[in-house]
């Protein structure tokens, strides 16, 4: 389905994840973040979003564990930055697919 986000028509799947990363912009990220209850994306948020996009580009497996090990913030900070389902939320904001990891 297509949705107007930050003045652009963005293709989303039924769960609200971008289906075409080329449509992603920082403005799109800010608007999805505010939908997810994150009013302001701080530098710390951006570090995580950049890390996730990079990991996705390199087709690395993305999990809470790998983020804690190789990511820019600790697992505790990750949960604080993106409360209530951090990996799903952060992936949606980063414009990458919903992570399929169970850990």
């Amino acid at each position: 389905m297509a949705k107007q986000i930050a003045g652009h028509t963005i293709e989303l799947n039924d769960e609200g994840y971008l289906t075409d990363f080329s449509q992603w912009t920082p403005e799109v990220a800010r608007e999805i973040a505010s939908e997810e209850g994150i009013a302001t994306l701080t530098d710390e948020h951006w570090k995580v979003l950049n890390y996730l996009q990079e990991a996705h580009r390199n087709t690395e497996a993305i999990s809470i564990r790998s983020l804690g090990k190789r990511g820019p913030v600790s697992i505790k900070e990750f949960y604080a930055l993106f409360p209530d389902g951090p990996l799903k939320k952060a992936s949606r904001i980063a414009g990458i697919p919903k992570p399929a990891s169970c850990v």
């Binding site: 769960e15 697992i75 949960y79 389902g85 951090p86 799903k88 697919p97 850990v103």
Partner: protein, 172 residues
């Protein structure tokens, strides 16, 4: 699980206040498969924004006992899913072999060791409780248990933590 999966209609229409809010897991066994089941369910709950707590009782206490937690085994005797004769499962070394094989497979799947998993659970906001009665029974002291434990509870204390709509209890 594909990345394009969608919520089935019967779930998508459930109001958010009626969804699972909190999982209280009771771990009563120390076999590797049961310990990981509890840990993965607790961690998975937090990943979905669901609160999670684990109450370690009886043999489950071994999963938070410092000198035991990395020495847990898969059950090879009395476990029909091993598909080996029970008699064979009891031979020296068989349990260790099966355990090592399982640990290797889990590492491939990015599943951490017990102590690392406990650290991840704590960092993710999972609360860890030890059962008072079981500790007394096994003569365990607080300092023998995982440092990040949230406390020692009686059964009554644990049930108090079950308050609130959307809380589910699961015995493992």
């Amino acid at each position: 699980m594909s990345n394009t999966e969608t919520l089935p209609a019967e779930i998508a229409t459930v109001p958010s206040e009626e969804r699972v809010k909190k999982m209280l897991l009771i771990l009563s066994k120390a076999t590797l498969e049961n310990v990981y089941a509890a840990f993965i369910l607790a961690n998975g709950a937090r990943m979905e924004g669901i609160k999670a707590e684990i109450f370690f009782t009886f043999f489950g206490l071994e999963a938070i006992t410092k000198r035991k937690m990395e020495k847990l085994h898969v059950a090879t005797v009395g476990n029909p899913a091993m598909h080996i004769p029970t008699l064979l499962g009891g031979l020296p070394g068989v349990e260790s072999l099966a355990t090592n094989m399982m640990k290797k497979e889990m590492e491939k799947l990015d599943i951490p060791t017990v102590s690392e998993f406990l650290d991840i659970l704590t960092a993710s906001g999972v609360k860890l409780w030890a059962c008072k009665l079981a500790m007394e029974m096994f003569h365990l002291k607080r300092e023998e248990l995982h440092d990040e434990l949230d406390g020692i509870l009686t059964v009554g204390g644990f049930y108090e933590r079950a308050s609130g709509a959307g809380t589910h209890l699961l015995f493992i």
